[in-house]
């Protein structure tokens, strides 16, 4: 990793080409599996698959997990509080999108 070195890199779009395993999601967010399991239980994250070994998370889960982490750490929220905050933020985002569609943003 030298300064100023330019490399052309190809990425994959998480939302379309990838599904993250529990381990990958934990690595991507620098958190432990227990955090993720609690958030799944609270409905913050909704993976596909029945058991933790088979869970697959989409890109939306990556965004939500990082948001959940920063809210629980910065605001000292417990998991139900995180779940409520995320639901309300989703609702605000939906209302903002609706406002934007009619050009009132």
């Amino acid at each position: 990793m030298k300064q100023g070195k330019v490399t052309l890199v190809q990425g994959s779009v998480v939302e379309e080409q990838l599904q993250l395993s529990l381990l990958e999601l934990c690595q991507a967010c620098c958190i432990g599996e227990d955090h993720v399991k609690v958030w799944v239980l609270e409905g913050v994250l909704q993976p596909v698959g029945e058991t933790p070994e088979h869970w697959r998370f989409g890109g939306e889960s990556l965004r939500r997990a990082r948001l959940a982490l920063s809210l629980s750490r910065d605001l000292e929220l417990n998991p139900p509080g995180v779940a409520l905050a995320l639901d309300l933020l989703d609702e605000i985002a939906e209302l903002r999108a609706r406002l934007q569609r009619i050009g009132g943003a």
Binding site: V6, L8, G11, V13, V14, Q27, A28, Q100
Partner: protein
């Protein structure tokens, strides 16, 4: 280096209890959290508040900070007196300079080096995954693009000091990418330790604001102004799209606010989005006599009462 008055930042007196500090912090953190607040300076304020709390919530650091005296004000030039922290042992494991944490020089000078020295790596741990945001133009999502992205990454040098390393990556932005999606660049995160693999780099995509187009997921919205006669009689007009101009057929009798869908003209992909043209009617100005006469002729020609729905409301 500028002094930071952490009590002032949290709005508490110097004698505040730990509980008062915690409550003041939580209140401000909720207000300025960048994921919650839309204030332009929310992120900067949130960092200040977090830094103040990182010091004041920890009794050892608070005591060390307090003994510098109360005569200092935020923004004053400041150098820590030699031996200011003698006799203090900072043991808080959750403390401070997490990689990428962006504290003030003041904080770094007082508490930073010590914290980074404790940042030990496991012998053969995989490198950390890193995250960054990247802003692209809407047109890039239509055509794909190659973007040079500058990243600053905290790294530990041989002496264990935290330094910021800059590097540039040339990234292929795939066609059809949307705001909020993540691009994973394998192996471009933090370096692994020993023989372990490097982490990945996740880029979160967002669009630069556009003066014409509004984006909603894969769909695009465009306001299309029409002259009253175009809306009334119908017309074929030219409209811009991020992929170039198109001809739009406006049906006769269109009213303002009507949406015309151009199927598949939104963000491309396996399920391409749609482009919605929102009609708006612009009135021609009437600033000379001839124009005013034209309006008067119209008034005569039409038996039109736009306020018909109000009739009978106040009998």
């Amino acid at each position: 280096m500028k002094f930071q008055d952490y009590y002032e930042t949290l709005g508490v007196p110097r004698g505040a209890t730990q509980d008062e500090i915690k409550h003041a912090y939580r209140k401000l953190a909720r207000k300025f959290h960048p994921d919650v607040s839309k204030d332009a300076d929310a992120e900067a304020r949130f960092k200040e508040v977090g830094e103040a709390y990182a010091v004041l919530k920890d009794p050892e650091k608070r005591a060390a900070y307090d003994q510098m005296g109360s005569q200092w004000k935020t923004g004053q030039d400041f150098q820590p007196p030699p031996g200011w922290d003698a006799g203090f042992e900072f043991s808080g494991a959750d403390f401070g300079a997490a990689p990428g944490a962006d504290h003030s020089d003041f904080f770094e000078a007082l508490f930073g080096r010590r914290a980074s020295a404790r940042h030990e790596a496991h012998a053969h741990a995989r490198g950390q995954d890193h995250h960054a945001k990247v802003l692209i133009d809407l047109a890039d999502a239509y055509h794909g693009a190659r973007r040079a992205i500058s990243l600053r990454m905290p790294q530990l040098d041989a002496q264990g000091h935290l330094t910021l390393q800059e590097r540039t990556l040339d990234v292929n932005i795939p066609k059809g990418v949307r705001a909020g999606q993540h691009l994973r660049l394998a192996g471009q995160g933090g370096p692994g330790h020993g023989s372990a693999a490097a982490g990945d780099l996740y880029l979160e995509i967002d669009f630069n604001p556009d003066s014409l187009f509004r984006v909603d997921g894969r769909d695009i919205y465009l306001d299309l102004p029409l002259a009253p006669w175009e809306a009334a009689l119908g017309a074929v007009v030219t409209a811009p799209t991020p992929a170039g101009e198109v001809q739009v057929t406006v049906p006769p009798g269109s009213s303002g606010g009507r949406k015309l869908r151009l199927k598949g003209r939104g963000i491309p992909g396996a399920q391409a989005g749609d482009l919605y043209v929102v009609l708006s009617i612009s009135l021609p100005p009437a600033d000379n006599e001839a124009d005013r006469d034209a309006y008067r002729a119209m008034a005569k020609a039409f038996d039109f009462n736009p306020r018909a729905p109000h009739e009978g409301v106040n009998p």
